[in-house]
Each structure stands twice: as C-alpha cells, then as structure tokens.
Symmetry: C2
Subunit: 377 residues, 2 copies
C-alpha cells in the first residue's frame, strides 16, 4: 500500500531535496557553505517578502519563537497575546517562561481574533511592548488578518511578532508591506523540508528593541545570528545538510513564483472546503486558511477511529485534533509539496471510510464538488 502524509507538518518533501540529504556531508565553515547560506537567505527573503535580515536557527519552530521572545523582551514588560488555539498557547507558554506581563485576547477554538479586538487591546494598553499573533492557527485551521493587525501596530511602538510557522508559503504573507516586525517560520511546512530549521525575519523597529534588551539567552539570542549572517555564517554549527536541502526546495518555490504558490494553495483550499460541505460535513474554522482544512467530526462518528481506519486501509495519514480537541476534528493539510490530485485522493478516502462506517454520504459527492470547485475560474 502507498502511504501519503497529510499532516500539517511534517509535510511531503520533494524527491530532489531528499536526494540532496543523501549526499556526503561538507564542512560548515567553508566558502562553499557560506555561498549556500547566502543563496538560501536571499530565497528566504523572497518567501518572506522582505528586505529584512532573515536568520537561520537549527531548532524546531518553537526555538525560533523562543528566540523572538527572549531576544526582544525584558522580564515584566507588557505584551498583548492574541490567541485562538494551541499555537497561541505556545506563545503564552514562552511568554510566561520569560516572565512577561501578558494581556490576553482570547477567542474559542475555531474562531479568529479580529482586528477590532486588537484595536481595543492596544488602546487599553498603550504601554504594550509587543503583540503576539499567529498567521495560521494550525490547531483549528483559522487564518488571521495579519495585514489589518500590522496597520494597527505600525501606528504604535509595539512590535508585531508573528508565528507564521505553518502559514508562510501556503497563504499570502507580506512581511514588509504588512509591517510585520518579527516573523518566525519553520522548515517542515510549506517550505518542503524535514523539521530541524527555524527562520526568523527581523526588521529595524524590532532590532532597535532587541539591541537594547538585556541578555536572556545564549543559543537563541538573535543578536548572535544577526552578527553571523552579515558574513553569511551561523554562530553555532548549523544543520548544514538541511540548509543545503532547503536551498533545493526554495528553488522550487522560486521557479513556481510566490504568487502562483499562494494561488495554488488558495485553489486547493477552496476545493477542499467545497468537498467538505458537499459531503454534509462542517468546517471547523470560521476564517479558514489555505494551508489546511479542518473538519468537525460529525455527531455519532468516532473521529480518532476514522483517521486510524483511513491510515490503515488506504494509507492516508491525516492529523487528529491535539490535546482536548482529539477526536473532535480532522486536520487535512494541503501545503507544500502536495497537489490537488493528492488532496482529491484524500477526500475520496475520507468518503470511503465514512461510508464504510455507516455514515450516510452519496459516493462521489465530495470528489465531484472538489473537481467542480477546482475547475472553476
């Protein structure tokens, strides 16, 4: 049986990138290694849509988030946290660890934080040093209106610090045009690499705050990465084979073009949502993003068992809900090296297991709706 990965990270990796990982390892302080990192950094700037400094950290995406917090904030400083799910809570965990004074703007799972909520919070907290937001809340499928958030924070002294780990590349994101001061992403989502690298874009407004911040970390202190990247280098031995392979995956994005990449994800997301509705199922996210489609498990259906059956019988690996969402939602990723025909297959497999489980669905309604939406202009 063929197996197919539809989890919202890790995602499938292109064959030429995987083969890059099988090549002999080189020295990370050579001229060749610096040229590779320089090229990677340029391509990352393209993906981030920025002229900012972009640094590469050997860590999980959370390492990049920690770097953003610990490098830019002193203990006791006030921040506004916008949270709509588990990844907003990840920000909260990091902010708590570093002793910041957190003002929380929280919405239930499945909902999105609105620009109006941020506007009120900024008004009530003019002394906030930063706002923490999530581009794609992967735990619920919600996408946030970062453009509107940036319009609000850019009028204040507060930094807008964004977790774009699962969103960047899969949905429109303009770091510079939208005034996103710090943007964090990871290698294992739409950037089509295995996990292991975090990338962080930092603009001048943020560097100013960071340069004045007390030292709170060593390995994740962004100042060290800034100093090194100015010479196309890293402060610590990096995962250099992942860096070389990331370059290969970014070449694929360059070749496709970022606007085309966004449009392709939008088209896949739109078709997936149409299929879900045609199958009589409900979308969990009120403001869905194009990187993944999150489906509410219908009453009377065992959500976790359904996913296990899909994997065992048809080889499609979707993601369950996390923590207290387990069994309540299905998360179908369509970001990165995944095309519409594969998503169509996942819809077909979901139809099949639901029908086999006794759920009333007319075979073909989902795939037909997917095809219809996909074919539309």
């Amino acid at each position: 049986m063929k197996t197919r990965l539809f989890t919202p990270g890790p995602t499938p990796v292109p064959e030429e990138t995987l083969l890059e990982l099988a090549k002999p390892v080189g020295y990370h302080r050579s001229a060749e290694a610096k040229a590779i990192l320089a090229e990677l950094t340029e391509d990352l700037k393209y993906v981030f849509q920025t002229t900012n400094t972009v640094v590469t950290i050997t860590s999980s995406g959370t390492g990049g988030m920690d770097a953003a917090v610990s490098s830019s904030l002193a203990a006791g400083e006030k921040v506004i946290l916008l949270t709509a799910g588990r990844w907003g809570e990840r920000w909260r965990g990091i902010l708590k660890a570093y002793g910041t004074n957190i003002v929380t703007v929280e919405v239930p799972y499945g909902k999105a934080v609105t620009p109006e909520m941020l506007e009120s919070a900024l008004k009530a907290n003019p002394d906030a040093k930063a706002v923490f937001a999530t581009l794609s809340e992967t735990s619920t499928g919600v996408g946030h209106d970062l453009e509107a958030f940036g319009k609000l924070t850019s009028k204040t002294d507060a930094l807008l610090i964004v977790d774009a780990i699962s969103g960047l590349g899969a949905m429109e994101c303009h770091t510079d045009k939208w005034n996103l001061d710090i943007v964090v992403t990871g290698s294992q989502k739409a950037l089509m690499l295995p996990p292991g690298l975090a990338f962080v874009s930092v603009n001048d407004k943020a560097w100013k705050k960071i340069e004045a911040n007390p030292v709170r970390n060593f390995y994740l202190d962004l100042r060290r990465y800034k100093k090194s990247i100015a010479e196309s280098d890293t402060p610590f031995t990096p995962a250099n084979t992942l860096i070389k392979a990331q370059r290969a995956s970014l070449k694929r994005i360059r070749a496709e073009g970022i606007e085309n990449l966004w449009a392709r994800h939008a088209k896949m997301g739109n078709a997936a949502r149409a299929a879900v509705k045609a199958m009589g199922l409900e979308l969990f996210a009120e403001r869905p993003n194009n990187g993944l489609t999150v489906i509410t498990v219908p009453n009377g259906v065992d959500g976790s068992a359904t996913l296990k059956a899909m994997e065992k019988k048809y080889g499609f690996k979707l993601a369950d809900g996390q923590d207290n969402m387990k069994g309540k939602i299905w998360r179908l990723s369509h970001m990165g090296y995944t095309d519409a025909f594969e998503v169509l297959g996942a819809i077909a497999a979901l139809e099949l297991v639901l029908i086999e489980g006794g759920h009333k669905i007319e075979p073909g309604v989902g795939v037909a709706a997917f095809q219809k939406a996909f074919a539309a202009k």
Copy 2:
C-alpha cells in the same frame, strides 16, 4: 578528484545513514516515531554508558550546553569553569549570558586542566554549585581526565557538567562509573550523523538541582524534555529524519561494540601521533585525545596555505586553528566513520604538500611510522 573530510565535526557519515535521510518523511507523533526514539534513546545510553535519562534536542551542540546551564543554575550562583581552549570559552560565554558567578581555572591553549587544579578550586569554593569541563578540547586536541574530575566532584554537592560533544564515542567515557552528572554531546562527531541533534544525559543528582531551579528558558528547559522522553516523545517537533538516521549510525556502534570503538580510535590516534613525530613535527596537545591529532605548524611554514594546498591538490580537508590559533595548528580528525587507511592517506597528503613547499621531509617517513605503530600490538 575525490574529496575527504577530516574536520573535527562534521565528520563523514556512513552510506546507509545518508540513504536513510533520503527516505520520505513521516509523522513525528506516530507510534512508529515513538518506537524509533525509544530505540535511539536506549542506544544512546549505551554510548554514554549510563542508565540516566538521555534527552534528544533539535539544536547544535551549543544548544545542549545552553540547556545544561539554563536548566540547572540560577543567576548569581557560583560555578567553577575549567577551560583549556575555545570550547571551555563556549561554556564561559553561556555562563556569562545566564549571569552565573564564574570562578575560572584556565590553562594556556595546548595544556590540560589537571585534577589537582580542580581539587584546589573545590577547596577554595565549597559553595560552588557546578563544575564545567570539556572531555575533548577540540580547539587544541587536549583530552581531560574526567574520571579524576568525577572522583572529586562526587564528594561535593557540585554538579560535574561535561561538554563531551567531540569526545563521546571517540574516547573512553563512562558517564555513570565516572560520576558525570550532566553530559552533553552532538550528532556530528563520533556519532556519525550530520549536525542538528544534541543529546544530554542527566543523573538524579542533577535532576534534583534542575527541578528546584527557577524557569530560565523555554525551548531548552530540560524539564520539558524529561517529561516527554518518559513517553518516548519530544516536547517540540523534532528533526525526525535526523533521529531516524541517528538510529542507523548507532546500530553501527552497537555492532562494533563501544570498547572496540574506543580501541580503534586509540589505535588510530596513536598511529597518527607516531607519524607526526616521525615527520619531525610537533604535537600541540600535551595530553592528546584520540578523536583528533593537532599538529603545531613548524616555523617558516604558512599553516593556512598548506591546508588550502592539501585540499585543492589532494582533496583532503583538514581544519585550521580557530580564531587566534588560525595558521598556527593543523587539526586532523579521526573520529567516527573514518578508518586507519584514510588517516594514512591524510598523512601521505600532508607529507606531499610539505615536501612540495620545500620543507625537508624524507618521503614515506610519516606513513611508515603510521603503519609501524598501527601494526604493533
């Protein structure tokens, strides 16, 4: 031309491990992923020679060192730093970043810190909470007597915290028998993997201190890793393809046997040192370790130009000295997936470039001495 890597990290990676890295990526929260991490952890314990908890962090080796410091020490606490080179200075940088009160025991580059020095320092500083040491000081080729250090610290409340990044696997190291409380290593040295993973062994004495320590970090807080590894899991999305590949390289160590691995490195190191002396060159380290051989550049020879010529003409990539040691020493690694016949080749290449540069060496004295030492019982 064939190219060969003799830098003390990264080191060559076995072919079956590289091919593992080229396989499709899996989901990191699956039962299969947990089984892989559990197996890896067992094999790591074997390499560490410990029954302690061993955690896997997605980071450079320095990330593991940072985790050891930030997880176990509060600001202002007194520590004894034993430093004999650049990697002792890396400990210092981290200790400074976290505001510890550092008592430094320092010897010049090329020398080793002695157990007597540590004994005096412990006597003079009974309130020291930890001692920081380096197994293999890769910047100079020195190896430290960790067994003797452990005998001293085990009689005190101070933790012995060891950077074994380039030493573990290449030289004898008994975490439990020697009373090493925290031991940090990295994937890219004798463990035969590309860079990207750090492994940290923590014993009960250290956990006791860590559990009582204030929270100072998020991503690198060892408590999070302890909690996860109890369920064969990681707190954050790990570099799961590196983990799977590390398992393959550790299988090789298991098959060889740790004592045989140490003996093989000892034999290679011994032969390399014999070759160096036979060529009329000097060893830089007064207490050389078996992971690498560090050679003093003779008067009148351009050290950096010689290495460049070796690489360009013969494809052998050795490492230069770092920072202010640049041009003054040559560092020839023989750890991990490197055998005696390859080191013999490196000795031959060094002989050739030196002769071509006008240095007086009888062709063959180095390789003959290597062979003679290697053949001896």
